[in-house]
Amino acid sequence: MAEVVKAPQSPVLELAEVRKSFGPVVALRSGSLSVDAGSIHALIGENGAGKSTMVKIVAGVHRRDSGTFRFQGGDVDFGSTAESKGSGIAVIYQEPTLFPDLSVTENIFMGRMPRGRGRRIDRKAMWAEARELFQRLGVDIDPRRPALGLSIADQQIIEIAKAISLDASLLVMDEPTAALSGVEVQRLFAVARSLRDEGRALVFISHRFDEVFDLCDTVTVMRDGAYVGTHRVADTTVPELVKEMVGREVGDLYPKSPATIGEPILQVDDLQSAGVFHDVTFQVRAGEIVGLAGLVGAGRSEIARAVFGVDGYDSGSVRIGDRAVPPRSPRAAIKAGIAFIPEDRRQQGLVVDSSVARNVASVIRGGLTRGGLLTGRAENRAAAPWAAALEVKTNALDMAATTMSGGNQQKVVIAKWLATTPKLLIIDEPTRGIDVGTKAEVHRLLSELAGQGIAILMISSELPEVLGMADRVLVVCEGRITAELDRDTATPETVMAAATNTAPSELSLSKDAEMVHEVTA
């Protein structure tokens, strides 16, 4: 920060070179953040850049391994969320978790309700105080109503009211606008500005540049678990921030070999599921890797789940070749030649308490039955070559998958689906939570599979992965495919613009419309 501050005032929150790892996985290499009182500070970065880990350290959810963590001028080390709260830090999550059956007032004063005579809870005093808080925030919520049925925006207001009543000097908002409508966002911003004017410090995490430029005073960019830079918002531009967020040269890490693209394999037409996704039409051809990009929660995984039949859909059709795939039946989808490697490996991808052999053979075992009998020997025999082809590291085929590393588990899941000889492979977050070496292996494998004529639909929140691997990128925003970009036109900027829906025509909120226009053009 080059700017000279008027008074020699030290920042409210100061993190420097903070490191946090979970076992072998380093989530935060070197996180730094410095937030002043009376300002709104944006924290931006791709998914996996380490923002959430840093927020959790501030919130007292995680303890840092090393580095400086100062709050209000003193060194702190929070061992619990209660300690963090007690010091005056309030963290407001994307989807607040209130007690639905309690009144909004009880939610605000949970654990510290004012006591009247005879140790009874003084409800009247509580309601009066809640009413006063709501007035200050300029919202009209009945303090006696239950939290159940409040919109997400109102739930956040309750959380903010709680923070104010605790007299928090630092409010951290983790993607608060992700689920809000335009009007609600404006109301939230008004509240945030008034809190700033009261001298509180705010940290605002967002994926949307227009919001950052609209609301914030300063911005810190993170990438790959490390601090990249801090700027005054007035002195920076969207392209500059995007460059810092993406950083490295894309392409080198991703060994995508050109493949011959053949016949259409998957054809999805007008797929619709009320409130989840709309008018989804696309195709994936043999040998082609199609990347499905977009923000978390945009509806990408939901589309994939509907195609595979784990979830239903309201209308539209899914075809493999010229055969219609019936809805709501993973079994039918598998029979049609679809393989689906889900995002949540431990919960959906495999049965972690089952053995490697049983997991690998779990989809093909129907065909391993001989004379009416399915034996463990047949499963082992069928599983071994696939485990070998993917270089799964295990002592024996009867080892439970639960003790394996994430990358190794992912290989088991991939082996299980390749054993079905699929025509279409849907892979959701192929390299989430796996180490760098295995990551490259998975990428090489996907490239090879495409080379053999398999159609691949890849969902990824890692922009470099999408840009490095995909022949074609479909960008999903709020349940709709907002852009289709081929390999040459897909850049971090074009994908980001489509994913955050900062298309020029819709940029009513931003005062930097021209700048974003520059980016998307």
């Binding site: 996985v25 999550y93 049965v351 779990s362 989809v363 009998l373 599979l449």
Partner: protein, 372 residues
């Protein structure tokens, strides 16, 4: 289309098993329960007067047959992580239906039996529909149908009993495998009910341990979401298991009725608890995903042997119940002991720490002052 991945160099090979055969056989709950069974049986044969007599095993099988039978489908139901508490009520209801069908309606006995089996299938189907397709918890559903089916049974027949079953059928239920005439008066023989039991046992062993359906049963119990993602039809599997449970309970109810020659609404009350106790004693995890039928058979027999040994010894049934209760608790604890031993010998006494939470919601859940 082929999807072979050519990587001839450095082809890995894998051992099928990480432990030697003996270890895999011995270090299991099933083996422990079989050992206890053999020990108790040997002790009883040597020490308890008349235990080695000709009638002991005959009555043991005759008495435990309904529990042995129902324990088969119950094992599969519990392995999927569900439970069926209505089995004894289905026995009572089918007993009443058999009586009404034969005595009041005047159906021929085989038709009345088929009717009773069909009623069992419908009862099980209703449980299965509510659990699998409506998505209600089986504990609640089958507590409800436990009362419902029993209520219908008692309501239909009141406090009466229908006892005019033909002798051919009531004798058949108590029939010995080898007739008295052939053995020349020596009555050292087993009851004929063992034949349908063995047939069903073979069928259920195949279904659970040697079929794709059975692998699905385990996967549902371990992680039903992952099972669904692998193409297992979770709903249909559960539906079928409850139907099977209903039909086998009906068969047990028919047997019970004929054995005692009496159709009553309160027949076989509280049998469900004995069945579940036997299944759990046999090493099946109440959380689903673990267990095997040889353990369950040993569990049922162990309860039967203990009961008849103590009866012959003149011990009160209360003591027998205490012993069975203690064994059950011990059997459940054995899982922890075995996994602890296994962990020690493989050099990793502790599991890896759980992976870090991925999203703010998860961390919010871990925040003690919040709730869902």
């Amino acid at each position: 289309m082929t999807t072979t991945i050519e990587r001839a160099v450095d082809e890995r090979t894998y051992a099928s098993y990480s432990r030697p055969l003996l270890w895999r056989l011995v270090m299991t709950r099933e083996f422990a329960i079989i050992t206890v069974l053999i020990t108790v049986f040997t002790y009883a044969t040597g020490q308890i007067p008349n235990f080695d007599g000709p009638l002991t095993l005959y009555y043991l099988f005759l008495d435990t047959a309904p529990i042995m039978l129902i324990a088969l489908p119950m094992t599969l139901v519990i392995i999927t992580g569900e439970i069926d508490l209505s089995v004894a009520s289905i026995m009572g209801l089918t007993s009443v239906m058999l009586g009404i069908g034969f005595s009041d309606v005047g159906l021929p006995m085989p038709v009345a039996i088929l009717l009773a089996l069909a009623v069992g299938a419908v009862c099980g189907g209703a449980n299965g529909f509510l659990v699998a397709y409506v998505g209600l918890p089986s504990l609640a559903v089958t507590i409800g149908t436990l009362a419902l089916y029993r209520g219908i049974a008692v309501g239909l027949l009141g406090t009466e009993a229908i006892t005019d079953f033909p002798e051919y059928w009531t004798d058949l239920a108590k029939q010995r495998l080898v007739g008295d005439e052939l053995t020349g008066g020596a009555i050292d023989s087993y009851p004929v009910i063992l034949i349908p039991f063995v047939v069903l046992l073979v069928a259920f062993v195949w279904l659970l341990h040697f079929s794709s359906f059975g692998r699905g049963v385990y996967e549902i119990g371990l992680n039903d979401e992952a099972a669904r993602f692998s193409g297992v039809d979770v709903e249909r599997t559960k539906m079928w298991l409850f139907v099977l449970s209903g039909v086998v309970s009906a068969f047990a109810g028919i047997y019970y009725t004929l054995r005692f020659g009496s159709a009553r609404g309160d027949n076989a009350e509280y049998y469900e608890l004995q069945v579940i106790a036997a299944v759990l004693l046999g090493g099946v995890s109440i959380f689903g995903g673990r267990g095997a039928l040889h353990g369950v058979v040993a569990g049922v027999l162990l309860i039967g042997v203990l009961q008849s040994a103590m009866r012959l010894d003149g011990t009160s049934t209360n003591i027998a119940n205490i012993v069975i209760g203690l064994l059950l608790v011990g059997s459940v604890m054995l899982t922890s002991v075995l996994s602890w031993v296994s962990a020690l010998t493989s050099g990793r006494a502790r599991r890896e720490p759980p992976p870090p939470p991925h999203n703010p919601q998860q961390s919010a859940a871990s925040d003690a002052t919040r709730s869902h």
